[in-house]
């Protein structure tokens, strides 16, 4: 187990890990005390030096983002924590907040201090009621303990379940009470974000990583990870593996190594394809088992690190079926603002359905790729781009399987075999 570096997840195995008592027992809220005594700019510098990059997918340096906030402008500043975790496969913030909500609250205190904000908003997706309750209780406890309410406040906002609200500007619109649709940039949130005030929008994990950096120093954090991707992070392993779950490891670990930690692919099966960072990142195959899972490594191999949501699919899975399901998700979640995404996903689904049912033609594959080319990079925000990733990458690696659907007159797979209960049915 030596490859794991549990920091965020260090005490998740304790029954009361989510309580303020457990958190303080392990030194919690000492980092914020330390940070509050520091000059805000020194805090920003420390986060810059640590090399921490955004864990929400794009990997933008967190300290640099904080540094964009204009200082001395006599305006309110806001910190907004993006906890609208909605991407298929992505499941790191939810367990993090269930197991240790206080690390986020402490991170909020430090970040607010650094960017001179008096208030942080945590925007959490509405479906995860259990998490909402746990974070609410934690906020109340933090107020009771005096960590909040002394110049820094935290407000929890519950989203209404739109994937687009994970896009930072749509999140801000939603938080302001409008329909969540992405905003035109510029102005960027750092200049005119929430209520047109300078705003930092960070992912849960990014903010939660900050207390450890303050407590242990930038150099300590730098000592983990690779050249340009520093620190450790949560890899969320799901799908056809024997022991799925969260694996906190330094950036740059490979899937082969994580699979070893997770007891391997479902026994008796082999890896077919996987996503490195959720459904909107182009899929990988067993050829990428040794690709370093850091921002640069995944990018060089033609995908994106994204949210490090490693969805594992073994050879029983029909790639066409999986891609269609994802595409249906994007069609359902497209906000409707721009033409390529709104209209494109509508037609992508129809063409993919024809292909899955064996009623399409080989020409449909080219049409599909051409439509993706007309959506990718043409949409207003990244949702449209994400919708094309599974399609283009799956055709790249599994074109023959698409064609097999056509020659077979339908899907050649038995969908039951890919289910968890497949074994139970056979016996």
């Amino acid at each position: 187990m030596s490859k794991l570096t549990p920091v965020l997840s260090a005490h998740w195995d304790e029954k009361d890990s989510f309580t303020i008592e457990a958190y303080t027992r392990h030194g919690g809220y000492a980092a914020s005390k330390k940070a509050l005594a520091m000059d805000p700019d020194a805090v920003i510098q420390m986060v810059k030096d640590s090399g921490l990059r955004g864990r929400g997918g794009a990997g933008f340096p967190t300290g640099m983002k904080w540094g964009f906030i204009p200082q001395g402008d006599n305006k309110e500043h806001y910190l907004v924590v993006n906890a609208d975790e909605s991407e298929p496969g992505t499941c790191k913030d939810t367990p993090l907040l269930m197991a240790n909500p206080h690390v986020l609250i402490e991170g909020c205190i430090i970040a607010c201090h650094a960017i001179r904000a008096k208030r942080a908003f945590i925007y959490i997706r509405g479906e995860v009621t259990h998490v909402v309750r746990r974070v609410n209780a934690a906020i109340a406890d933090a107020y009771k303990a005096g960590h909040l309410g002394n110049g820094i406040d935290v407000t929890l906002h519950i989203g209404a379940g739109a994937y687009i609200c994970g896009e930072e500007t749509a999140l801000l619109d939603s938080l302001e009470g409008f329909r969540g649709q992405p905003r035109l940039r510029p102005p960027f949130p750092a200049i005119a974000g929430l209520y047109a005030r300078p705003t930092v929008v960070n992912n849960v994990e990014s903010i939660a990583s900050v207390p450890a950096i303050i407590a242990n120093g930038a150099e300590w954090y730098q000592s983990f990870g690779t050249e340009k991707s520093k620190g450790m992070t949560l890899y969320s392993l799901s799908g056809h593996v024997n022991n799925p779950g969260q694996f906190e490891a330094p950036l740059g670990i490979t899937l082969r190594e994580i699979l070893e930690l997770a007891g391997g692919i479902r026994t008796g099966h082999t890896l077919k394809f996987w996503t490195p960072g959720g459904s909107s990142t182009p899929i990988f195959t067993d050829a990428h088992l040794d690709t370093p899972l850091d921002y640069e490594g995944v990018s060089a191999a033609g995908s994106m690190l994204g949210t490090k949501a490693l969805q594992i699919f073994d050879e029983t899975t029909c790639v066409v079926r999986a891609v269609l399901r994802w595409t249906e998700f994007y069609k359902h979640e497209s906000c409707g603002k721009c033409t390529p995404c709104r209209e494109g996903t509508w037609w992508l689904v129809q063409i993919l359905r024809d292909l899955e049912n064996g009623t399409g033609t080989e020409a449909d594959l080219d049409k599909l790729l051409d439509l993706c080319d007309n959506i990718m990079g043409r949409s207003f925000c990244a949702l449209g781009d994400g919708a094309t990733s599974p399609i283009t990458s799956s055709i790249k690696y599994f074109r023959d399987e698409y064609i097999a659907h056509l020659t077979n007159g339908g899907c050649p797979f038995d969908p039951v075999k890919s289910t968890l209960f497949a074994g139970a049915l056979n016996s």
Binding site: L184, K331, C335, C338, P340, G344, W347, I351, I375, R378
Partner: protein, 787 residues
């Protein structure tokens, strides 16, 4: 002075290269607009030059590089301002941009129905046109399209075909950004996103028609025009709006002699590209079945019977010849017609007894007009540079909606400060976040006196200032004290022109005072007459009083509705007594008592011009080319011939030529004698002081026959203060009775921000016609009780 300062400020110009051609444009110009300057048309749907960029449709994608660094993907040219060293490649030179645009077009058409053969927009549709210029000839998308029930009414006058919508959000952005009426918004998401209304709040905006006009597809259509015509069957004529003094540039579309629709014209100095729904949709009065088409003469039995033109003119001349006669033109005359009336009164009737003001007036107002308004020019552009606008006796959205849009633009873009001295809070004041100085009716002058203004401020004063003694005097004093500019805004389209044409007892054409001998000589020489009557003329109320007292025998009346006059029953009795020649387009309370009725042309049937509140000429040609109706001036000229005192204005163009040759008066103006204010009457118990103004959409005669438009009227309500509501024991929605010795009005009450002593009612709305029912409008004591 300010203009030289402004022109001294150099605009920073930026040079960019688009498709290999250099173009210099002011800093901040969007790429799509810079391309237009080169004549390069980048296709677009959501982009509109008067709306904030949104970048939603993605049709205008182009390749851009700056300082040699290319954007990795095509950019929406409608959202990106030009920058130095920018090189743009549009669809004309970039295969990537061309493919991106064609790809977006294919997707837009994918879910768009093939309605073109029956769609109102077919033939003038940006989607149709750009699909031809920037799209594939064939679609590859052969699955199922989204389907919606069609169409749905989002108001009584606007219909929505949701499956035609390309979701460009022009309509919703217009309603929010320009009109501040965010009653429509986008709902749902993905391809099922759609424009919608809140179920309890339909799209009741005074400006909703603009959304139909700027819709780039046939998704929004006007209920009155839907399925009526194809664009290529229409003959379009540039025209001007006859409904109010805003002065909108318009386009009138006619098919086979019938006006089928009117659109807002494009005049950046005035209405930009907008107009109000009244201007757009209230034109059916022209084709009403009761239009007067033949002259009528009252026979010996007292009945109006059809007569030939020679008969009618002879009868009119006989009735006027040698009589003490006056002229009431009404406020809807064109400049040329007003000039005809003005000359007719002086030359044919030998009198200065002429007044265009068919409403509540005062001599204070008449002096104010002659002293400060005639020949002046406060403009929309002045609002754009004002530091503060004071509204006096003027409710902009109801009484001059384009002035409201201009105020709103300046409020939204640069936080223009607006102050309103009024008896009641209004929707427009709320939208403009105006400083509301609440006064009791008749107490306005004291409030006006204390407003802090500067030389860059503007006072917009409405015609209703004539209803509070001393108010025009207070405005004049404030302007003199602070150097603020005054804009006088009458309600009707013809009033400013009539003033300049001298259709007023104290003013000759060009703002020349009747009292000035040199001015009279000027005009007498130009007209080739011995002299101009020296005695200043009577005002409209004095003319009616003189008719009652038999000090006048006859009157020539233009478009006057007796129900607009302060004492309508007395006015009608006076007219009944006198010999009346009525020039009208349709039967009215005046034609009913007239001795000779001469039918005249409506605005779409004649050429001419209006002067809007700025004094700016708004010329128009006859939209209906083959109308048999004649303009007032031509008929007056024939009547003058019959009287033996020719005015020699045989055509509108002759009148226009002669008027412009007269030029403006450059001599001294009438000196203005201030009038002191009266105090508000004391009220107690169930007494209140009445106050009222007209709503944009009401019982006005020019709105007749347009039920779809009437459906978006604001509700008829009486407004009282919370304190009074408490006293009466009434709450919003319950019936309130407002009464005096003349009669009563019973309508639902709305408890709102109004002076405790006052009660407000709409002046001429359904069930609330103040001047008819109460013969009162502002400042009179009425009884207010729960009904």
């Amino acid at each position: 002075m300010t203009t030289t300062q402004e022109s001294a400020v150099a605009v920073e110009m930026i040079t960019v290269v688009i498709d290999g051609f250099e173009v210099s444009v002011p800093k901040g110009t969007l790429v799509i607009r810079a391309a237009e300057k080169l004549g390069i048309q980048i296709p677009r749907f959501c982009d509109h030059p008067l709306l904030d960029p949104v970048g939603a449709c993605r049709q205008c994608l182009v390749d851009i590089e700056i300082n040699g660094r290319a954007f990795p993907k095509p950019q929406a040219s409608c959202t990106i301002p030009v920058e130095p060293n920018m090189i743009v490649k549009t669809q004309l030179t970039s295969p990537v941009a061309d493919k991106a645009q064609k790809g977006v077009m294919e997707l837009l058409l994918g879910n768009h129905p093939l309605d073109c053969p029956v769609c109102d927009k077919g033939g003038e549709c940006p989607l149709q046109n750009q699909a031809m210029s920037n799209g594939h000839a064939q679609t590859r998308l052969d699955g199922y399209k989204r389907l919606f029930e069609k169409p749905i009414n989002i108001s009584s006058q606007v219909l929505l075909d949701r499956e035609r919508c390309v979701l460009c959000a022009r309509c919703t952005r217009f309603s929010d950004q320009i009109a501040s009426d965010p009653f429509i918004t986008l709902n749902e998401r993905g391809a099922l996103q759609q424009v919608g209304i809140y179920e309890k709040d339909p799209f009741k905006s005074y400006f909703s028609g603009n959304t139909v006009q700027i819709c780039p597809v046939g998704a929004l259509t006007g209920a009155s025009y839907r399925f009526r015509a194809r664009p290529f069957d229409l003959v379009s004529t540039p025209s001007a709006c006859e409904h109010c003094a805003s002065g909108c540039d318009m386009r009138t579309d006619v098919r086979r002699g019938k006006t089928l629709r009117r659109l807002a014209g494009d005049d950046p100095s005035v209405n930009e590209e907008w107009n109000c729904d009244k201007g757009r949709w209230a034109f059916k009065y022209v084709t009403a079945t009761d239009r007067l088409t033949q002259p009528l003469v009252r026979n010996s039995a007292g009945e109006l019977v059809t007569a030939s033109w020679p008969e009618a003119l002879a009868a009119a001349a006989a009735g006027l010849k040698g009589k003490r006669a006056a002229v009431l033109t009404g406020g809807r005359v064109t400049l040329e017609d007003a000039y005809g009336y003005s000359k007719f009164a002086r030359v044919a009737l030998g009198t200065n007894d002429i007044d265009y003001r068919a409403r509540i007036t005062s001599d204070e107002e008449r002096e104010f007009l002659a002293a400060f308004v005639a020949g002046s020019s406060t403009t929309y552009r002045d609002i754009d540079s004002a530091d503060h606008v004071l509204l006096v006796a003027f409710e902009p959205e109801e009484e001059s909606p384009i002035v409201f849009l201009r105020l709103n633009k300046n409020f939204k873009k640069r936080g223009l400060k607006v102050t309103a001295v009024a008896t009641k809070q209004s929707i427009a004041m709320d939208k403009l976040k105006a400083d509301f100085i609440k006064v009791a009716p008749l107490s306005e002058p004291a409030a006006v006196a204390n407003i802090a203004l500067t030389g860059k401020s503007i006072i917009l004063v409405g015609e209703r200032a004539s209803e509070s003694a001393g108010l025009f005097s207070a405005v004049a004093a404030l302007a003199a004290k602070t150097g603020a500019k005054v804009g006088y805004i009458p309600r009707r389209a013809g009033e400013r022109g009539a003033l300049e044409a001298g259709a007023l007892g104290t003013v000759l054409p060009g703002g020349r005072p009747v009292s000035d001998a040199a001015a009279r000589v000027d005009i007498a020489a130009a007209w080739g007459v011995e002299n101009i009557p020296t005695q200043p003329g009577r005002s409209s109320s004095d003319i009616l009083a003189a008719l009652t007292r038999s000090e006048l025998d006859a009157v020539v009346v233009g478009g006057v509705d007796a129900h607009d006059l302060p004492e309508s029953s007395a006015a009608l009795a006076a007219l009944k007594k006198a010999f009346v020649v009525s020039l009208e387009i349709a039967p009215s309370s005046v034609t009913a008592v007239a001795d000779v009725v001469l039918p005249v042309a409506a605005v779409t049937e004649k050429s001419g011009s209006f002067l809007n509140w700025e004094g700016r000429a708004r010329g128009f040609d006859a939209a209906v080319a083959d109308s048999l109706h004649r303009s007032d001036v031509r008929i007056l000229s024939m009547l003058a011939d019959a009287l033996g005192n020719p005015i020699s204005l045989a055509s509108v163009s002759a009148a226009a030529r002669e008027f412009s040759q007269l030029g403006k008066w450059d001599g001294a103006r009438i000196s203005f004698t201030p009038v002191s204010a009266t105090s508000s009457p004391a009220v107690s118990g169930d007494q209140a002081i009445l106050t009222s103004w007209r709503r944009l959409l009401d019982m006005g005669t020019l709105q007749r026959g347009e039920d779809n438009l009437a459906g978006t009227r604001r509700p008829t309500v009486a407004v009282i203060s919370p304190k009074r509501a408490n006293q009466i024991g009434i709450s919003s929605g319950q019936q309130l009775r407002i009464s005096n010795s003349h009669g009563s009005i019973t309508i639902p009450v709305l408890v709102e921000d109004i002076h405790d002593d006052a009660v407000w009612i709409p002046r001429n709305s359904f069930a609330s016609q103040a001047l008819v029912a109460l013969e009162a409008a502002h400042g009179q004591v009425v009884t207010v009780v729960k009904a």
